[in-house]
Amino acid sequence: MKYCLNWKWAVAALVMVAAVAGTGCKKKGADPFPASGAVADWQKSSETRVFAAKDLWQYIDGDAEQYISAGVVSTSTSDYKYKGELEATADVYTMGDATGARKILESGQSSDAKAVQLGDAGVAYAQSVIFRKGSHLVRIVAYESEPDAQQALLALAHGVEAKL
């Protein structure tokens, strides 16, 4: 009887470990970027690239320090095109906690920032959208100034938010 109970506990523990590990892997490996067409008129135009904190300088040398001091764990980035013309880049910075994401968002705002309903807090400019959600900080930037750029960027931002 004693052995039988131990056996059942062991199986239960294995099931729980497998479930937790499975969930963790899924989150860790999940791509935060919407696929082409998932957001109307937006095409994902590059592979997703991921940089660990120690390698962030390879992507944004000079800018990396402020993210590292705010506790960045990893950074994912992907390029997009809107209606085949407007080019944009989306970056998702995964910080150690929400405080780091808040710190970056609040430190980088200028007076023409327009508050938007995105994640826990967000702002939009004519050519960029920045928001935070939990421990994530998302920055999406367009490389040209187009009349409908801000609305298009906001739509893409909502698509990213839904995947976080």
């Binding site: 000079g62 880049t89 930037v141």
Partner: protein, 331 residues
């Protein structure tokens, strides 16, 4: 007939041919004010450079370049002016800067304009090497990777690699890019003017962070003395002889990355041999813009570009940051 844009657009592959070390390519000391103890810096502007588009007009960029070089050399004919800068048998490197991504990298139109004038001055296409850290940075500038030795070459340190043995100057020890150490006789720096979150300003001297393997190690202390020390390393000091600084587009805050909300179009080129004087001039330009936008000075923001004064000190002697010893020509 190939357009200036077309001749770089064709991708090519081939073996990387490394040239041997040669003497420097600078034909002679250009700065006619050297005898008076002043460093000449030319700032050429064209208020209509961008027109209504995001990119500067290619023809106007070529004209702006010609005006800057003519003012600097004193030769009105642009091809003759370039012949006074270069020797035709040398390998000329163009160290661009694509770190900031597509929005704020050295403009393709400027790179192409310089390549056109170099060839007209007698430099063979295969003796022109456009380079930066890696393919991503070069693509950000609108360039296409090419290692074909019969054409203008364009590739990054990720292709050519770094020296195995580090070199040291002061507190700085780095592994140099082989493109600098082995391939180029003379390098023209083509930085783009930007605010920098750590060093305050990034332009001529800071652009050299792209010629070493691990530049992140040079960032402590607001990049001071990292920038100055790096520029004192003989291969950098001796080969990087001329700067054609791209101040056609800039970010005055939030740099060095692309922040379109802080984008600005000074529509200018800043040209000179004295890298310290060029950086001092660029720094003052950024300070004026920040004041206009109601932003604090770099000193008040906690990131003054102290490396500029360090580069001018008695230990480094890379140039002058004394306004009284800078002859600034605005054309």
């Amino acid at each position: 007939m190939e357009s200036r844009r077309d001749f770089l657009k064709t991708a090519a592959t081939g073996a990387l041919v490394l040239g041997s070390q040669r003497k420097l390519g600078l034909a002679a000391t250009l700065d006619q004010h050297a005898q008076t103890g002043k460093s000449k810096v030319v700032m050429a502007r064209d208020a209509s450079l961008h027109g209504t588009g995001a990119q500067p007009d290619e023809k106007r960029v070529l004209d702006l370049l010609d005006r800057a070089i003519a003012a600097y050399t004193g030769h009105d004919n642009p091809v003759e002016a370039w012949k006074h800068i270069l020797r035709a048998d040398k390998v000329i490197g163009l160290k661009v800067n694509g770190l900031g991504g597509k929005g704020v990298s050295t403009h393709l139109s400027l790179i192409l304009a310089i390549c056109e004038r170099l060839q007209q001055a007698g430099i063979k296409p295969g003796n022109i090497v456009i380079w930066d850290r890696n393919a991503r940075d070069l693509v950000s500038c609108g360039l296409t990777i090419s290692t074909d030795p019969s054409r203008i070459r364009c590739y990054g340190n990720d292709v050519a690699g770094y020296e195995e043995q580090p070199v040291t100057w002061g507190a700085t020890s780095v592994k140099l890019a082989r493109i600098l150490s082995r391939e180029c006789d003379m390098v023209i720096g083509l930085p783009i003017l930007k605010d920098h979150s750590m060093s305050g300003v990034t332009f001529a001297m800071k652009n050299m962070y792209g010629v070493v393997e691990r530049p992140q190690g040079l960032h402590p202390g607001g990049c001071n003395p990292g920038v100055a020390d790096l520029n004192c390393i003989p291969a950098v000091r001796d080969k990087v002889r001329f700067t054609i600084g791209d101040a056609m587009t800039s970010v005055y805050d939030g740099g060095p990355g692309f922040h379109p909300e802080r984008l600005w179009q000074p529509n200018a080129l800043i040209v000179g041999e004295d890298r310290v004087a060029v950086d001092h001039t660029a720094w003052q330009m950024l300070e004026r813009k920040r004041a206009e936008m109601g932003l604090p000075t770099f000193e008040a923001a906690g990131r003054p570009p102290r490396y500029i004064a360090t580069a001018a000190d008695a230990a480094h002697r890379l140039g002058t940051n004394d306004p009284q010893r800078i002859h600034l020509m605005e054309v």
